[in-house]
């Protein structure tokens, strides 16, 4: 068999093993609910939760969820809706009203507006990373990170120890970085923490093609600029490339370290994402008992 035919046959054999449940997927796509990631243990109950039957009661342990009237309720996290199956502590679909993070430090109280034009979900809640995702592209969301350091612009990026980790240090690094296009930093206060706000995107100057390097660190032919890494748990690496746009809130923790909020639009409309995110950002209160 010629190699091309063998390739076609092999690809069909591999791909044909994937047999999605089309009717269930159609329900999800048209339900108007957010599309959280489903990982492992795809029980009927977890799919039912995604289909709009409310917050699934299949989690491990319990977390405090405060409803719009301010009274505490006990709610179980939706294990199968979390992006990290090893740490299934996210809240999944969010109800309008006051909500509180579970593991992120410091804990975040925030309000999903009753009149929000889209549904929201929380696919990740870990000590160093927390995500609020409005219905739409999975890549576009509000991301919270703890204790990040900026990265060197290389094919094997590492934290640049020469750059400080205070908000002003990171802002100055961004402004001086020819690989990035950024707005002038503005002083900002979010949830009791102070820092700077800055919008940025890739400038197009960074054209390093790392896709063919032996380490295979950069697999695409799209140059992507290394931004920062860290996030407390040490497993975060953040980049910007292509038409991606970010609004960064670089905030200082009173006891040292930083907290970064990134409104990040890769697949969707950045301005629209900022508009629907702003009321959520404005409602945030970081629990001062934890810093």
């Amino acid at each position: 068999m010629p190699p091309d035919d063998r390739l076609r046959t092999g690809l069909r054999r591999i791909a044909d093993e994937v047999d999605p449940d089309v009717e269930r997927a159609l329900q999800r796509a048209t339900s108007g609910r957010p599309q959280p990631r489903i990982r492992q243990a795809g029980t009927i109950l977890s799919y039912a939760a995604v289909a709009g039957l409310g917050i699934a009661v299949i989690g491990l342990g319990a977390s405090s969820l405060v409803n719009r009237f301010g009274t505490a309720e006990t709610s179980s996290p939706s294990a199968n809706l979390c992006s990290d199956p090893a740490l299934p502590t996210c809240a999944g679909p969010l109800e309008p009203g006051v909500n509180r993070s579970g593991l992120f430090v410091p804990p975040i109280d925030y309000i999903i507006p009753l009149d929000s034009p889209v549904a929201w979900d929380n696919p990740e809640d870990r000590p160093g990373t927390f995500t609020l995702h409005p219905a739409g592209p999975e890549t576009d969301a509000i991301f919270f990170f703890r204790d990040v350091g900026v990265l060197t612009a290389t094919c094997n990026p590492r934290i640049d120890e020469a750059i400080g980790n205070e908000a002003v240090d990171i802002a100055e690094w961004i402004m001086a970085n020819p690989n990035l296009t950024a707005t002038t930093p503005e002083p900002v206060t979010v949830g009791g923490l102070t820092g700077v706000l800055i919008d940025l995107s890739a400038s197009g100057v960074y054209t390093t093609q790392c896709g063919n390097d032996p380490g295979g660190v950069y697999p695409t032919e799209l140059p992507i600029v290394p931004l920062f890494a860290g996030a407390g748990s040490g497993d975060l690496t953040w980049f910007v490339g292509g038409n991606e746009r970010l609004r960064l809130y670089l905030l200082d923790m009173p006891g040292g370290g930083n907290l970064v909020i990134s409104i990040d639009a890769i697949a969707g409309d950045f301005d629209a994402l900022v508009e629907i995110s702003q009321p959520v950002i404005d409602s945030i209160r970081f629990d001062p008992a934890y810093y």
Binding site: P2, P3, L11, I14, A15, P20, R28, Q35, T220, E221
Partner: protein
């Protein structure tokens, strides 16, 4: 099940627009399109991601975006190309992030999955950059000509050709076989 879905589609359409027969017809058209294309898009995404759950998520997101814009997109000549373009972009992005993170952490093992039919080819595919995986999937799995591959990947015809050429050369090396003389991509 089908009747319920169609009813919900019609209700959803009615909440964002006028209650006309057109919405119901559009909802029915969308459901038919979904049923015809969803599996194929998921399988193509799987060839890029090598993760069944992630492939379904990507396809789901792409079709959700399609649903929200169905009135406009359904009028296009090739709504199937539109939804593939969205899915492929999401898949390439997800694969890139996974690979970047995995490499930086020194653990690039694929997620636990059921056995794959052609292990050698699957392993070789995983060693290609995501953009090349996408080009291979579209050209060899979906049998799309390079012009369509370029359209879906949002690149030039020449770039698509290079993706396919490099991918096939790399696969030939990894699978330890000579390249095809009947080069339909070059």
């Amino acid at each position: 099940m089908s009747l319920v879905i169609v009813q919900r589609l019609a209700q959803t359409a009615a909440t964002v627009g006028e209650r006309t027969e057109t919405h119901a017809e559009a909802a029915i058209d969308y459901a038919a399109f979904f049923r015809a294309e969803f599996s194929a898009v998921t399988r193509t995404a799987y060839l890029v991601l090598h993760d069944r759950d992630a492939a379904e998520d990507v396809a789901q997101d792409a079709f959700t975006q399609l649903f929200r814009n169905w009135t406009k997109i359904s009028a296009y000549d090739r709504p199937d190309a539109w939804v593939r373009r969205v899915a492929i972009r999401l898949a390439v992005r997800a694969a890139s992030r996974h690979r970047l993170l995995g490499t930086l952490l020194g653990r690039l093992e694929p997620p636990a999955q059921p056995p794959i039919a052609d292990l050698d080819l699957a392993a070789a595919l995983r060693r290609l950059p995501p953009q090349q995986r996408a080009a291979v999937a579209l050209h060899y799995y979906e049998d799309r000509p390079l012009a369509e591959v370029a359209q879906i990947l949002n690149c030039s015809h020449a770039t698509a050709k290079v993706h396919v050429f490099k991918a096939r050369r790399r696969l030939a090396t990894l699978l330890d076989q000579p390249e095809s003389e009947s080069d339909d991509a070059a």
